[in-house]
């Protein structure tokens, strides 16, 4: 039976075939999906902030791009994933609001995407597809068997990456 594993905001998980793995309601957050088709293992992180440096005492490594991605890779490897076969897909990082005149933190979606890309580059994981930016929310679901990432939105329909 196929289970759908749900990843919460600021969390990450690993799934094995035939399960699917999903996260709901990405706004400025970025969903980082990494998969290894040779072993049919997939991992998903729901990243909320670009860097652990922003933390003020928080210890949740899954929340920040620069700690979540290394941790996700490590977990996938310990579940039998082959790091050389890893591929990544990204979704989210929207700018839902601009809040003109207020703090630059509102470019957070863009900064999250950049930070995720930087980390994936650091680990030599190719980004094969992305659906980022815009001003709308996304729900994503990754299929461990095919590596297909389904992106669902409230008003822009469904996309398959």
């Amino acid at each position: 039976m196929t289970n759908v594993i749900k990843v919460s905001m600021a969390d990450l998980k690993v799934a094995c075939a035939p399960d699917r793995i999903m996260t709901v309601g990405l706004g400025s957050c970025v969903g980082v999906a990494i998969y290894d088709l040779s072993k049919q293992i997939a991992g998903l992180a729901h990243v909320m902030l670009p860097s652990k440096d922003l933390s003020r005492g928080d210890t949740n490594m899954a929340k920040y791009a620069d700690t979540a991605i290394p941790l996700l890779i490590e977990k996938m490897v310990s579940c039998g994933g082959n790091r050389r076969k890893f591929q990544a897909k990204l979704a989210g990082g929207a700018q839902m609001f601009s809040f003109q005149g207020s703090n630059p933190v509102m470019k957070i979606g863009e900064r999250n995407v950049e930070a995720c890309k930087l980390q994936l580059k650091r680990f030599n994981i190719p980004i094969v597809a992305e659906d980022t930016g815009g001003n709308y929310g996304r729900t994503i679901e990754l299929d461990t068997l095919t590596g297909v990432l389904m992106v669902r939105t409230a008003s822009k329909g469904i996309k398959k990456l």
């Binding site: 905001m9 600021a10 706004g27 909320m48 003020r56 929207a94």
Partner: protein
């Protein structure tokens, strides 16, 4: 570090009262706009995990119409005026005409934004009067989207400190019987704002440790 796991009953009561007074003023404004009585539920003050916050308005993927504004000044944080889509449509019909079609077009959305602006403004000015603190709302923005995607903005500051947010949730509804217009005011103060709020209201740090 601001830890609110140790909020005492008195502090929770103070936050409830903040919600009560703020949302009470907002409800009065809404009653004027709609020319019908608006009722308030007793505000709920709760520490919620990031996932739970969207559950309060129907689930993470549930589409909501939300007016969002940031709060600057002595108190910082976010304020949301939240309606389910069908309730927003009903609000539009009440404001314009019962036959209004093409609901939630740009004009209607900007009307909702203005309603949200007036209501959140009443809420926050009541709060400023009560506390004597400087509380400045930003220009509001409106969005129709998944609840989690919208509400996550309110968690960005809180998220730097931990994995829970304290939400002052005030729910209102009109008295039209079946299918009332109902909605939520969510106030999410940033972690640093709590001590200022408590101080302004005479709740001392000593009480906090009890």
């Amino acid at each position: 570090m601001s830890t609110w796991d140790q909020l005492n009953n008195m502090q929770v009561d103070v936050l409830k009262e903040i919600g009560n007074i703020g949302a009470g003023h907002a409800a009065t404004s809404l009653a004027h706009l709609l020319q019908k009585p608006i009722q308030m539920k007793v505000p709920d003050v709760r520490l919620v995990s990031f996932d739970e916050i969207a559950e309060r308005v129907g689930g993470a993927e549930h589409v909501i119409v939300a007016t969002v504004l940031t709060i600057q000044g002595d108190v910082t944080g976010y304020m949301f005026f939240i309606l389910h889509q069908e309730k927003a449509e009903k609000l539009i019909r009440n404001l314009f005409s019962p036959e209004a079609s093409d609901l939630l077009n740009d004009l209607h959305l900007s009307a909702i934004q203005e309603v949200g602006n007036i209501l959140c403004g009443s809420y926050l000015s009541a709060l400023a009067d009560l506390t004597g603190l400087n509380i400045q709302p930003s220009v509001p923005e409106v969005a129709i989207d998944m609840a989690a995607a919208i509400l996550s903005y309110g968690l960005l500051e809180v998220g730097k400190v931990g994995n829970d947010a304290l939400v002052i949730d005030a729910c209102f509804y009109d008295q039209s019987g079946q299918d009332p217009i109902e909605g939520h005011f969510f106030l999410l103060p940033d972690p640093d704002s709590f001590s200022r709020l408590f101080q302004a209201l005479g709740v001392t740090e000593h009480d906090k440790r009890d």
